[in-house]
Amino acid sequence: MTVRIIADVLIAIGAIFALAGTIGILKMPDPYSRMQASTCIPTLGMLGAMLGALLIAIFCKEDAGTAVKIAVIALLILVTNPLGSHAIAKGAYKAGIRPEKKMDVDDLGRDLYE
């Protein structure tokens, strides 16, 4: 029973961080800041939900196959997410997308795309 409560609390924490990331995506002023806010969702939002699911799978359902698959899903999201973020940010910058309010410090624009 206590395990079930801990798992539910973890899932709720994940949901809160996912909500924060969603608010950030909707309200941040420029594409790069939006991408920064969205990183909350696949890190703590996903990890909270997956840890909760893992606890339920191990202690309530007692199903090793499901538990291992949940762990593999979490690992794959953690490995692939930064690759996507990096490629999208670099591609957007190369395509000439700049924030409306000029950035105070912009070394990449100064050094490589002048």
């Binding site: 809160i16 961080f17 924060a20 990331g21 608010i23 950030g24 309200k27 941040m28 002023p29 420029d30 790069y32 800041s33 991408m35 920064q36 806010a37 990183t39 909350c40 890190t43 703590l44 090793a64 196959g65 291992v68 698959k69 762990a71 593999v72 953690l78 490995v79 997410n81 930064p82 690759l83 973020s85 990096h86 940010a89 670099k90 910058y93 924030p99 950035m103 105070d104 410090v105 912009d106 070394d107 990449l108 624009g109 050094d111 490589l112």
Partner: protein, 173 residues
């Protein structure tokens, strides 16, 4: 083009086979043999892309436990700190931001170390690695930072990745 070496094939085979076991989670003889054959074929073709440096790197126990310590203790703490900070900004109306792209020097030498550090930085909310360049033997990252509090150079580098880099140096240097 890099040549395929036997240690590289062995390492790739072990990784592929472990992944097969995790995905299928069955220990019937047929499935094990099928997995071994497929893993060997994949290893023969892709080992030269997968292994760039010494193949049996993680057989050194000190490095292995330093790596475990990094991924299970140092990195999650930084991740939670950055997440709480970012969640506060989001719930506060997204007003307290000062975005910019800074250039910071990185002291890690090995390919794996640099890739791991860049991915760790990108995975932390608030910083995204955008480009890696090398000038006169010194590696630089261009990092998009949501709240620029220090000018480019060593100071910004310590604020963004000081702890992460220290942990990774014990694994790969």
């Amino acid at each position: 083009m890099r040549k395929t070496t036997i240690p590289a094939v062995v390492t790739t085979f072990v990784v592929c086979f472990a992944f097969w076991l995790l995905l299928t989670w069955s220990f019937a003889t047929q499935e094990l043999i099928a997995g071994a054959v497929i893993s060997l074929a994949v290893a023969l073709f892709s080992a030269r892309f997968f292994i760039h440096e010494k193949a049996f790197w993680f057989c050194n126990p000190v490095k292995f436990f330093n790596g475990l310590f990094y991924w299970l203790c140092i990195f999650p703490v930084e991740l939670v700190k950055a997440n709480v900070d970012m969640a506060k900004r989001c719930f506060g109306g997204c007003k307290k931001i000062n975005p910019g792209i800074v250039k910071v020097p990185v002291d890690l030498k090995s390919d794996y170390g640099q890739a791991a550090l860049a991915n760790s930085i990108t995975l932390t909310p608030g910083t995204i690695t955008m480009e890696i360049t090398e000038e006169e033997g010194q590696t630089y990252y261009y990092i998009h930072w949501i709240d620029v509090t220090a000018p480019s150079g060593k100071e910004a580098g310590d604020a963004i990745k000081g702890t992460l880099e220290k942990g990774l140096r014990r694994v790969w240097e």
